[in-house]
Amino acid sequence: MKYNYLFKSISLSVFCLFSSTIFAQLNLSDNLNNLNLGEVHGNFQANAQYYIPDSSIGANKVPEKMLMNGFTNIIFTKGKFTAGVRYESYLNALQGYPSGYFGNSIPYRFITYRADELEVTAGSFYEQFGNGLTLRTYEERNLGLDNALDGIRLKYQPVKGIYLKGLIGKQRNGYISGNGIVRGFDGEIQFNELFANLREKKTIVSLGGSFVSKYEADNNPFYFLPENVGNSAARFSVIRNNFRINGEYAYKINDPSADNGMIYKYGDGMLLQTSYAVKGFAIILSGSRIDNMSFRSERSAGLTSLLINYIPALAKQHTYSLLAFYPYASQAKGEMEFSTELNYKIKKGTALGGKYGTELLFNFSGANSLDTTNLDPKKDSKRLGYTSDYILIGNEVYFRDYYFEMTKKISKKWKLSLIYSYQIYNKGIIQKPGYPTIYSQIGVADITFNFKPTSSLRLELQHLATQQDHKDWAYALLEYRINSEWFIAAGDQYNYANPEVSQRFHYYMGNIGYTRKANSITLSYGKQREGIFCVGGVCRAVPASNGITLMVTSSF
């Protein structure tokens, strides 16, 4: 009972604080825009959580009781000139968030000027070359990942069809910059734009190449370390009608680091993707081979810090909670990954298609180890570590997902999705050695009843069956969208088959949300289990928690 008063008072005070901030920003924005002094846009988000200790699920006591992550972006644009800042506030950072984020700061600020074919950015920026094998700086707030570059970037188009980018900067690591300096160049030729006689052709071809070099001083008393490490890549893309194929190969020179145990072996990565789509049918095939491709601007960095490149995730990205229970994390140290996806729509008016048609989706994705041979450390004077075969696939299965989904609109009111997935998850490789491989079967039923276009009731039923780890789980969620502004939801994740009866916890969660125009407020109460959270193959550990969460977002 003693928490009830606290919940109410904290929720109310945080709500008032955020609401007043939003409206103050909106007024400022409107005034500037009306005076024709340029345009101001931006957004705001705050995520505050009040923690209740719960030793049974491993939710630790939080001395501050309440923690908050918040930020606001403010972008000013006038003509060819754009400038922006992002104010960030971690008072203190939410549980499980990387410790580099604390206090208040303006870590992101930039100015951009566009003059004809040249664009200059000074300050902070995000960038990606090709598929990211040589460079991808981005922000993924839920992971606590922000590897923005701080420096200078030029984008240049000397003639139509040729696109050049050059950059130099230091990477963001929490509230400080990493020690390394990143230099990069990317060029792309769009042949159908460059040559007038190709403009009307059906086949669209482009070629690209990138080179990224990082500098970090060699202060190691034992090893001669490469201070400048280059990573280069070439890519192509061909599109003809409904067919598309693209690929990229990257090669990185010797780059001893904490990730690879300070070995001097080169790294390389190859990615090939192809797709074909016509009305009612689509197929996508993807494959990659990654070998020693971790590339960070500090050799000793770990987790999600100071990543310069990105290993594309091919495994299907799931949103349903039990489907995403065992998410695959890309293995930059080495993997062979593949994905096949087939979409087919059974036509309406047929026996199986019914009145509205039926959508089917098959996905088969997975990853294995490389076929490697360790070198004898006594004879390995160059510290190359191991050799790997290019063609052969390693015997160790890292991940498999055999996925089938059927979505059907039954009537104007009813819609149904049914999903079955069989997953193999090598927890010993993906999370921590010593754990067994987990074989799980997951079933999901998602049923929606529309009262009217803006009002619906949705029921999610999920079940995960496995003989390993914590055994079977069940999950149910009921979501009522009252109108276009309000929704209310309640769910429970229940580990009902845990072999230890005392560990059969309910992780219940209730949400109420309000969205009006560009503002949204969500209040949640419940428990979150300890686990792994991944976005695009990059993951972080999430600690167990119990408490009340308030999230406010706004854009203007």
Binding site: G96, S99, F185, N220, E227, A258, S300, L303, G434
Partner: protein, 299 residues
């Protein structure tokens, strides 16, 4: 081509020619470091580790390498703490090498190491600590070599001598620690002295990459703090004068196994002949260790 087009092209060309360093000779020749004298600032490296931490053996190898170079100039303590250090009775990782002091140091409200950052990670003389803000005080093992080198080149402000008297009959130790400052201190209570026990040559399973080493030898494992987590004030009143000797005498009784009050399945025997006393003095305000010394319990 217009002249204004030249500038970005030049910029791009410079980027293309950013150097790549291909390394052929990997190992640097090792000049012997000067032997430490009384006035040398010795360095405390706290290696936060755990038996289920896959990269921790690599960090231990790095610590050993540094120890081989700096010898008694570097003192290493293996602090087993965090989720990787938890004992698991269902697996081979039954041993509990955690200590109450180590848990406090590792906790969110103090050095906040394993929780958000994982293991292995280290503290070098506990420098750069800003009262819980940031992680500038936490060094991954790739940074240890450089940070140790920087610290060992600093001047010492105090010297520590340890004298151990061990009685085998009742496994008791009388430890006398003599501290001599080279400068007057402004405020005497600014410094605390901590005495702790570390033990070498404990054989117990350890994860290493994806394999389990059943007979892994754990060295310099923090076993217990003799005078609690944060030690005692060096002097309780007045100022410390230059060259003044401050003597502390503490007694301790070695248990048959550690942790003292744990279940037998989680205990590992204590072999006193493999034990050392580590004494360090730290600044209470900054938590920075200003001097450290190590002495075997049985010479």
């Amino acid at each position: 081509m217009k002249n204004k087009n030249l500038l970005p092209i030049v910029f791009f060309i410079i980027l293309i020619f950013s150097a790549c360093d291909f390394i052929t000779d990997v190992y640097k020749p090792q000049p012997p470091p000067p032997p430490p004298s009384d006035s040398t600032r010795r360095v405390l490296l706290e290696d936060y580790t755990g038996h289920e931490c896959v990269a921790c053996p690599s960090a231990a190898v790095e610590a050993k390498k540094l120890k081989d170079i700096y010898k008694e100039g570097l003192i290493v303590i293996g602090v087993h703490a965090g989720s990787f250090a938890k004992p698991d009775d269902k697996t081979e990782f039954k041993a509990d090498f955690r200590t109450s002091a180590g848990d406090v140091y590792d906790s969110k409200s103090i050095f906040n190491i394993s929780g958000p950052n994982g293991n292995p990670n280290g503290l070098i003389n506990r420098k750069n600590y800003k009262g819980g803000a940031g992680k500038g005080h936490i060094f991954s093992y790739g940074k240890w070599a450089n940070e140790v080198k920087l610290e060992i080149e600093k001047k010492a402000i105090v010297m520590i001598n340890i004298d151990n008297k061990y009685s085998e009959s009742d496994r008791s130790l009388t430890c006398t620690v003599e501290s001599t400052f080279f400068y007057d201190t402004i405020k005497s209570s600014a410094y605390n002295l901590v005495l702790c026990i570390i033990e070498d040559s404990i054989t117990a399973p350890q994860l290493n990459s994806s394999t389990v080493i059943q007979d892994y030898v754990h060295n310099h494992v923090l076993r217990d703090n003799i005078n609690d987590t944060w030690g005692d004030e060096l002097v309780t009143k007045g100022e410390i004068k230059k060259s003044e000797k401050i003597t502390k005498k503490l007694t301790y009784k070695f248990p048959a196994a550690y942790p003292k009050n744990a279940a037998i399945i989680n205990q590992t025997p204590c072999d006193v002949k493999n034990c050392h006393i580590v004494a360090y003095i730290y600044n209470k305000d900054t938590k920075e260790v200003v001097q450290v010394a190590e002495e075997k319990v049985i010479k």
